[in-house]
C-alpha cells in the first residue's frame, strides 16, 4: 500500500511540474493579423500599434516564453501610446488586449502541444491524487489525524510568520491601490487601530500571550504550498495574460461544454480547476471519513452544487441563450449581483416563459436572486442553521471542506482571534451593504458623488480589496498558513449575515452529551472556524456560535462522542444554559446529582 502511495505522490509531483512549466513554456510570435483582429480601440490606435510593432522589432520576432513576449507587447503599446498622445489606449484596455494577443500568438506549451500538456498536467495530476488517496481504504475506518502536527505540510507556522504573510498581503493591496484610492489608507488605518487595540487588550494580562497556533519548528512545506497558491491567485486575478497557456489547454473542454467555437477564459480555467480539485479532494474527504455518514452526505452535496450549480448550469444556460447565473450564489457573497448584472443584465433577458405570462427567464432569475437572499437564506438558516449554506452548498465552503481539510487545525482558537473576527467580518458586511446601496442609489437617482467617494469607486474598492484580495488570495492562498476557512471566518459578508440569523433566531445548536467531556481539545483543534468548542463542552453547555458552519468535524473527532449537531424548536435560551456537569445548583445549593 505504501508503495502505491509513493507512486501516486511521484506522479503528482511530475504532473504539478508539467502544469507549472506549461504556464510559460511556449513560443510566441506577433503577427499583423493578430493586431488587426484584437486591437480594435480605434483605427488610429490600431495603425499606431502596427507601426510600433514594426519599429520596435517585436513583429515577427520569435519569443521563447510568454514572459519575454509580454514584455515585448508592453514595449509596443508604450511606443504606440507615445505617438497617440491624447488618443492613447487606456491602460485597462491595454491589459485586456494582452490576453488574446498572448494566447493566440502561440501554438501552445511544449512546442505547441496544449492537449498533451492538458492530459499530462491536470488530468494526470488528478489521477495521481486518486492513486495517493485510495489505498487509505485498506486501513480500518476511523479518525485519521495521525502525525498532522509532525508533518511539515500541515503543522502550521508561527504567529510571526503568519503576521509577516498577512502584512505582505496588505502591503501588496496598498501598493496596487494607493494611487487610485487614497481612502484605502484611511480604511487600513482604521482596521490597523482596531487590531492594535484588540492585541493590546489581550496582552494586558501581564504580558501573557494568548495561545497561538505556533509550533516549534516550521512547516516549510506548508509555506511553500501557500506561496504557490498565492502566486496562482495573483496571476489569475491581476495578471491573467500570463495564464493564457492554461486557457489554451482548456479550449477543447470549453468547446465541448459551451458548444462549437467556445473558448476558455481564465475564469473558465479557474472554474474547471476548482471542480477537479474539489472532486479529488472530495474523494479524499470521503475516504477519510467513510465511517461518518454526515460527512459523506455533506461532501457529496458540496460536490453536487459545485459541479452542477456553479460550473455546468451557468454554461448550459449560456449555451441555450439564457443569461449566465450561478443560481445558488446569494448576495452579499455574490457582491455585484445587484450592481453588475441583476437589474440591467437580467431583467427582460433570455427567452420568455409561456406559462408565466411571457415573463423572461432573466426576470425570473432576478426574482430568484432577491428571494434567495431575503427569503430562502434566512428561512433555511432558521430551520437548519448556517450549515445548510456554508458546508452543504457554497462553493467557497466546498473548497475549504475538500482541498482545505488537511489544514483545518491551523485556525487560531485564541480569544484574540475571536475578537478580531467579529470586527472584521461585520465590517466587511457593512462595507458590502454600503457599496450595494451606493450603487443602487446611483443607478436610480443619478447621484454619483457621496461626499468623499463615488459609487463606482466604492464598487471597485470592494471588488479589489474584498472580492479579489480577501476571498481569493488570502482566502484560499492562506489555507496552509492560517487554516481553511480564513475567508469564511473573517471575510465573507454572507457568512456574517447568516451568523446573525444563527445566533439570534435559529433552531440549530450543537448539543453536549451531559458530563462526558474530558476536555481533551480535539474538537477545538479541528474546528476550522476557530471556535473553542471545548470551552462550552466541558461545562456541559450547548454550542451556539454565529460562526459555526456546522461541518460536523468536532463531533466526528471527539473521542468520547460528546457533540451532536441538532435542530430543535425548543427554547433558544435553553440552547446555552449550563446545567449538566454542574452537580450543585448555585442558586439553592440543592444537590441535583
Amino acid at each position: 500500500m505504501k508503495i502505491i502511495k509513493i507512486i501516486g505522490l511521484v506522479i503528482f509531483i511530475f504532473a504539478l511540474g508539467v502544469f507549472t512549466f506549461s504556464m510559460f513554456s511556449s513560443e510566441h510570435q506577433l503577427t499583423s493579423e493578430l493586431i488587426k483582429s484584437h486591437v480594435t480601440y480605434s483605427p488610429e490606435a490600431q495603425a499606431a500599434v502596427m507601426e510600433a510593432a514594426n519599429s520596435t522589432g517585436v513583429m515577427g520576432k520569435s519569443y521563447g516564453t510568454n514572459f519575454s513576449f509580454i514584455n515585448g507587447l508592453h514595449e509596443v503599446f508604450n511606443t504606440a501610446n507615445n505617438t497617440l498622445g491624447e488618443k492613447a489606449i487606456p491602460s485597462w484596455q491595454v491589459e485586456k488586449y494582452l490576453i488574446p494577443l498572448t494566447k493566440y500568438s502561440t501554438a501552445g506549451p511544449f512546442g505547441g502541444k496544449p492537449n498533451m500538456a492538458f492530459w499530462l498536467s491536470i488530468m494526470l495530476g488528478a489521477l495521481a491524487g486518486l492513486i495517493y488517496i485510495l489505498p487509505d481504504m485498506s486501513q480500518l475506518a476511523g479518525i485519521k489525524n495521525d502525525g498532522i502536527y509532525q508533518n511539515a505540510s500541515t503543522k502550521g507556522i508561527t504567529l510571526n510568520v503568519r503576521l509577516a504573510f498577512l502584512g505582505l498581503a496588505m502591503l501588496y493591496a496598498l501598493w496596487k491601490s494607493i494611487f487610485q484610492f487614497p481612502l484605502v489608507i484611511f480604511f487600513v488605518l482604521v482596521v490597523g487601530l482596531i487590531l492594535y487595540w484588540v492585541w493590546k487588550s489581550e496582552k494586558s494580562y501581564n504580558g501573557a500571550r494568548a495561545r497561538s497556533a505556533s509550533v516549534s519548528t516550521s512547516g516549510w512545506l506548508g509555506i511553500a504550498f501557500g506561496i504557490y497558491l498565492i502566486s496562482f491567485y495573483v496571476f489569475l486575478y491581476f495578471f491573467p495574460h500570463y495564464v493564457t497557456n492554461w486557457t489554451l489547454m482548456l479550449d477543447p473542454v470549453a468547446a465541448a461544454i459551451k458548444g462549437d467555437g467556445g473558448t476558455a477564459s481564465h475564469w473558465f480555467l479557474y472554474g474547471f480547476l476548482y471542480c477537479i480539485v474539489m472532486v479529488v479532494m472530495g474523494v479524499r474527504m470521503m475516504v477519510k471519513y467513510r465511517h461518518n455518514k454526515y460527512q459523506l452526505v455533506r461532501t457529496a452535496s458540496v460536490l453536487f452544487f459545485q459541479l452542477g450549480f456553479a460550473f455546468l448550469i451557468p454554461e448550459i444556460l449560456v449555451r441555450l441563450n439564457q443569461p449566465y447565473m450561478d443560481l445558488k450564489n446569494a448576495w452579499p457573497l455574490d457582491y455585484d449581483f445587484y450592481t453588475k448584472d441583476a437589474i440591467g443584465g437580467l431583467a427582460g433577458q433570455g427567452s420568455e416563459i409561456a406559462f408565466l405570462g411571457g415573463t423572461s427567464v432573466g426576470t425570473v432569475m432576478l426574482c430568484w436572486g432577491i428571494a434567495l437572499t431575503f427569503i430562502v437564506v434566512p428561512v433555511f438558516t432558521y430551520v437548519f442553521g448556517k450549515r445548510w449554506y456554508c458546508s452543504w452548498v457554497c462553493g467557497c465552503g466546498g473548497l475549504a471542506e475538500t482541498l482545505g481539510d488537511p489544514y483545518r487545525q491551523l485556525s487560531d482558537k485564541s480569544m484574540r482571534a475571536w475578537k478580531i473576527e467579529r470586527y472584521v467580518i461585520h465590517g466587511v458586511l457593512a462595507f458590502a451593504v454600503l457599496m450595494t446601496v451606493g450603487v443602487l442609489v446611483n443607478r436610480f437617482t443619478g447621484i454619483d458623488n457621496f461626499g468623499l467617494f463615488s459609487a463606482g469607486q466604492l464598487k471597485s474598492w470592494y471588488g479589489f480589496m474584498i472580492g479579489a484580495m480577501f476571498s481569493g488570495v488570502v482566502g484560499t492562498g492562506f489555507y496552509p498558513l492560517m487554516g481553511n476557512r480564513v475567508w469564511c471566518r473573517f471575510g465573507c459578508p454572507l457568512a456574517g449575515l447568516l451568523g446573525l440569523v444563527q445566533k439570534f433566531k435559529s433552531r440549530f445548536r450543537i448539543t453536549t452529551n451531559g458530563g462526558q467531556c474530558i476536555s481533551c481539545g480535539n474538537c477545538s483543534t479541528y474546528c476550522e472556524m476557530g471556535i473553542d468548542v471545548r470551552a462550552y463542552a466541558q461545562r456541559g453547555q450547548n454550542i451556539v456560535r454565529s460562526s459555526c458552519v456546522g461541518c460536523g468535524v468536532c463531533s466526528a473527532v471527539c473521542p468520547r462522542g460528546v457533540l451532536k449537531l441538532e435542530n430543535g424548536s425548543s427554547d433558544i435560551g435553553e440552547r446555552t444554559t449550563e446545567l449538566k456537569t454542574i452537580h450543585i445548583s448555585e442558586s439553592d445549593l440543592k444537590i441535583l446529582s
Binding site: 475506518a141 501573557a208 451531559g514 462526558q516 481533551c520 483543534t525 444537590i591
Partner: protein
C-alpha cells in the same frame, strides 16, 4: 483568606475555578509538572501528532491572570499542618488558610526486575510522554505491560507511528474485570485487527538490561523473550500519596476524607484521584480515579471551602473511553461479574464493532445500566431513566430518545427491540420519539 491548592489537574483546577466563582479569596495553585493545566486524558494525542501540547490546555494563559489565580511551578516537599505552611523545593515556604490536596495518581510498579531501567516508563505525566518520545526514533518494537485503559492508549500511540507493539495482559481477555465477556471479546478482536500483538494470560517476569542500563527486551511469564526498545508499564495507578504516609494526615491507600471531602486535619481538603472516600455510596468504590469524579469533587470542595457545606454526590456512575476506533460509554451498573439479580440483554451488530447492553433487575424489571460500544447514548436521558428506576420495557420502547449518534447514522433501535422481544417473549413497541424537542420535554417531565 488564602486558599492553596496542590496539584493543577482537573480536580484542583475545578476547585480553584469554583472558589473564584463563589468568593474573593486569594487562590494559589502549585504544581511541579507543568505551569498550565492541561488535559491528562489528551496526552496520547500529543504523541500521535493530533494536537500540540498547548492544544490540550483548556484555558489560555491569560485566563489565570484574569481570574486572579496564582500559578506556582514547584514541588511541595513538606506540609506543616500545625503551622499551616508548605515547604517548596525552591526553598521557599507558603502559608495557607485552607489547603486542597489534589495530588493525582502515580503509575503502579510491582517490583519487576529491571523496572527502573532507561526506556521503561508509565503513561501518566507529561514527563512520561517526553520519555516515550526520546526512545521512539528508530524504535523497532515496544512492549506494553497491562491491559487497561491506559495500556490500550499507549498501544495506539506507538501504533500510530508505525511502531510494532506487543501487549501483555494478565487476564483471560482484555479488561475483563470491568467489561462483560462479549464487549471484552470485541475489543480483543479489534486490537488484533489493528495489528497489535495481544498476548492474553501473559505477565511480565523481567525486563532485560542491555548492559548500559537500558531495556532491550522482556521475559514473559511463559518464558518467551521479546526484544524491544521500550517497555510501557501500564498496570494501573494508585493515589500519589506515599510522601504523606508518615504525617499526621490520615492516609490509607489514598487520603481519607469524609462526605464533605475534609481530611482529618483542620482546613485541609482532598479531591480527585488521591482521595479515598470514608463512606462510598453503595455499589461504588472508595477510590474512583476518573476525570469526572475529580471534577465533581473539585466543585464540591469549593463549596465547602466557601462556607456552603454540601456533601459529595457523584450521582449515577458514568464513564467513557475509546478503544482505538471503538467508542465506549457506560451508565449505571454494568458489571463484569454481575450479581444474581442482574439480567443482561446484549445486542451486537453483525459487523462486530457496535453493541448495546442493557441491564435490569430480573425480579422488578427496573433498569440498572447501559453499556454502549460504537454507539452513542444521551447521558441525561440514561441518567433520568436510572434515577427514576423505570421499567425496562419503557426504556426499550423509548430507546430513540437516548440515541446520540450523529445525523444520518443508521439507527438500530428496531433491531434491538426485535431481539429483546424475541429473547424475553415480550411485545414492546418502539415509539418514534427521538427529536430534540421530545428529548427536552422528556427530561423536564
Amino acid at each position: 483568606m488564602h486558599v492553596v491548592i496542590i496539584g493543577n489537574g482537573i480536580s484542583g483546577v475545578t476547585a480553584a475555578r469554583f472558589v473564584r466563582k463563589l468568593s474573593d479569596h486569594k487562590i494559589t495553585i502549585i504544581s511541579s509538572e507543568t505551569k498550565y493545566f492541561f488535559s491528562r486524558t489528551a496526552l496520547m494525542y500529543i504523541y500521535m501528532g493530533h494536537m500540540r501540547a498547548e492544544d490540550t490546555m483548556p484555558y489560555e494563559p491569560w485566563f489565570w491572570e484574569k481570574n486572579r489565580i496564582d500559578l506556582v511551578e514547584a514541588h511541595v516537599d513538606k506540609i506543616d499542618f500545625k503551622g499551616k505552611s508548605l515547604a517548596l523545593n525552591n526553598n521557599t515556604s507558603l502559608k495557607y488558610d485552607k489547603l486542597v490536596l489534589a495530588l493525582g495518581s502515580a503509575s503502579n510498579k510491582f517490583g519487576w526486575p529491571g523496572q527502573d531501567l532507561d526506556a521503561v516508563g508509565g503513561l501518566y505525566h507529561m514527563q512520561d510522554l517526553e520519555n516515550m518520545e526520546k526512545y521512539s526514533e528508530g524504535l523497532e518494537r515496544a512492549v506494553i505491560v497491562g491491559g487497561g485503559l491506559i495500556g490500550i492508549e499507549m498501544a495506539e500511540m506507538f501504533h500510530s507511528r508505525h511502531i510494532p507493539v506487543t501487549m501483555l495482559v494478565r487476564e483471560k481477555s482484555y479488561w475483563d474485570n470491568v467489561l462483560p465477556e462479549e464487549e471484552s471479546a470485541m475489543i480483543n478482536r479489534h486490537i488484533k485487527e489493528s495489528h497489535i500483538d495481544l498476548r492474553l494470560q501473559t505477565e511480565l517476569k523481567e525486563i532485560i538490561d542491555d548492559g548500559s542500563g537500558k531495556a532491550k527486551g522482556v521475559v514473559t511469564s511463559k518464558e518467551d523473550v521479546i526484544d524491544c526498545g521500550y517497555v510501557g508499564l501500564t498496570a494501573g495507578v494508585h493515589p500519589n500519596v506515599r510522601w504523606l504516609k508518615e504525617t499526621e494526615l490520615n492516609v490509607e491507600r489514598g487520603i481519607v476524607v469524609n462526605n464533605h471531602l475534609e481530611t482529618n486535619m483542620q482546613d485541609v481538603y482532598a479531591v480527585g484521584d488521591c482521595v479515598q472516600l470514608e463512606e462510598p455510596r453503595p455499589g461504588r468504590r472508595s477510590i474512583e480515579a476518573v476525570w469526572y469524579t475529580g471534577r465533581m469533587m473539585g466543585e464540591t470542595a469549593a463549596y465547602n471551602i466557601c462556607g456552603k457545606p454540601v456533601a459529595y454526590d457523584p450521582g449515577i456512575w458514568f464513564n467513557s473511553a475509546k478503544f482505538i476506533h471503538i467508542e465506549y460509554q457506560v451508565y449505571g451498573d454494568v458489571l463484569a461479574k454481575p450479581p444474581e439479580n442482574h439480567e443482561s440483554f446484549y445486542w451486537e451488530h453483525p459487523d462486530g464493532r457496535k453493541a448495546v447492553r442493557i441491564v435490569f433487575d430480573n425480579k422488578t424489571d427496573v433498569i440498572l445500566g447501559f453499556n454502549l460500544m460504537g454507539i452513542r447514548f444521551r447521558h441525561e436521558v440514561c441518567e433520568k431513566w436510572l434515577k427514576d428506576k423505570v421499567h425496562v420495557d419503557e426504556v426499550m420502547a423509548n430507546l430513540k430518545l437516548a440515541n446520540f449518534d450523529p445525523e444520518f447514522y443508521s439507527s438500530y433501535e428496531a433491531d434491538i427491540i426485535r431481539a429483546f422481544n424475541n429473547k424475553y417473549k415480550r411485545s414492546v413497541k418502539l415509539t418514534s420519539k427521538g427529536l430534540l424537542d421530545q428529548v427536552y420535554s422528556f427530561l423536564k417531565s
